[in-house]
Symmetry: C2
Subunit: 183 residues, 2 copies
C-alpha cells in the first residue's frame, strides 16, 4: 500500500491540541481525507502505597460532562522525560512524591489511534512519600485511596469510563503482578 | 464545584469530527478554556470463531503513521443501534456475519476522556458465518486470525498500540471468561 500526502492544512493551533485536515492519495487512485489532532505524549501513574492500596483521583471531565475516577495522569511538558513527567503529575495531583528508580514502565499505547497522535505511557509507582497536593489552578481534583479489588469491582460494574484507568488496572492485575508478584 | 459555560466556539465541522473551544468559569472565579472534539459513538467487536480463534484486522493508521493490529471497529451511522453497527462493521471489515442475539456487551468507555466525546462499546461476537469482506473504499484492511494467547503474547511485548484492542482483549480474558466460561 502506498500513501501520498497531497495537502496538510492546520485548521487550529491550540495551547495543547492542534487540529489538521490532510488530503491523501492511496495507491495512486483513491483520494480521501484524514482529520486528526496532534497531541503531546502523556503519562499515567498507578501509585501503590505500602498497604497495597492505590491512590486515585476524581475529577470533573468537561468534554464528557461527568465526574470520573482515574489514575493520576497528564501531558508531558516540552521534551520532558516521561519518568519526570510522571513524578511531577503524581505529586501535583495527589501530593505523593517518588523518584525515578521507583517507577516501572507498564505499557505505551495510543488512546484514539485513528484521530489523535497521543501516546500514553503507564508507570507503576512505589515507595511513595506524602507531600502536598498542588493541582493546576483549573483542575478540581479529589484524591481517593482504594484497594485494587475495590477498583476491579467498579470496572466489573462498568463504572469507570476512562480508558487509561481500565487498561492500566487490568494490566497491573494480570500482567505486572505475574511478573513482579504482589507488592 | 460549579462550572459555567461562558462561550462555545465551533472551530471546525468535519465529516465525522467537530472541534470546539469553550470558555468556562469554575466556581465563579477561575476562567479557563476547554478544547475538545465531538465524535460519534463507536463500537469494537471481538469476533470469536468456533475454534476459539479471534478475527483481527491489520490496517494503516495515518494519524499515527503505523500499521496496527486491532479488533474490528467503527463509528455508528446516524442514530444506528450499537448492535447493528457492530454487525455491519464486523461484516464490512472481516467478511464474517452474525446476528444480534450472538453479541454480548463487554464494556463501554471513553478513549480520550479529556478531549473527545467518543464513547466506545465493545461486544463479544460468536456464531460467525463467512460472507464477503467489504471495507470502505479508503480502508485498506487485512484480516488476520489469531489465538487469544498469540494476541496476549503481542500485548505482553507491547506490540499492540491500539487502546480498544488492549482493553478488550484483557477484559475478554480476565472478566468475560470468568463469567461465561471458555467459548
Amino acid at each position: 500500500m502506498k500513501i501520498k500526502k497531497l495537502n496538510s492544512t492546520q485548521i487550529y493551533k491550540g495551547e495543547f491540541i492542534s487540529f489538521y485536515n490532510d488530503e491523501i492519495l492511496i495507491d495512486d487512485k483513491i483520494k480521501t481525507v484524514r482529520e486528526y489532532i496532534i497531541y503531546p505524549p502523556a503519562v499515567g501513574i498507578i501509585p501503590v502505597l505500602e498497604n497495597e492500596k492505590i491512590v486515585m483521583v476524581e475529577q470533573f471531565r468537561y468534554a464528557n460532562n461527568m465526574f470520573s475516577l482515574e489514575i493520576p495522569a497528564g501531558k508531558i511538558l516540552d521534551n520532558e522525560d516521561l519518568k519526570y513527567a510522571a513524578i511531577r503529575e503524581l505529586e501535583e495531583e495527589t501530593g505523593f512524591r517518588t523518584s525515578p528508580e521507583n517507577l516501572v514502565k507498564l505499557y505505551t499505547y495510543t488512546p484514539a489511534i485513528s484521530y489523535s497522535t497521543e501516546k500514553l505511557t503507564i508507570f507503576v509507582a512505589k515507595n511513595l512519600e506524602k507531600t502536598e497536593q498542588d493541582p493546576d489552578e483549573d483542575e478540581i481534583i479529589k484524591v481517593k485511596i482504594l484497594s485494587l479489588y475495590e477498583i476491579l469491582d467498579l470496572i466489573n460494574e462498568n463504572k469507570i469510563m476512562d480508558s487509561k484507568t481500565v487498561l492500566a488496572i487490568l494490566m497491573y492485575k494480570y500482567s505486572f503482578m505475574e511478573k513482579y508478584g504482589e507488592v
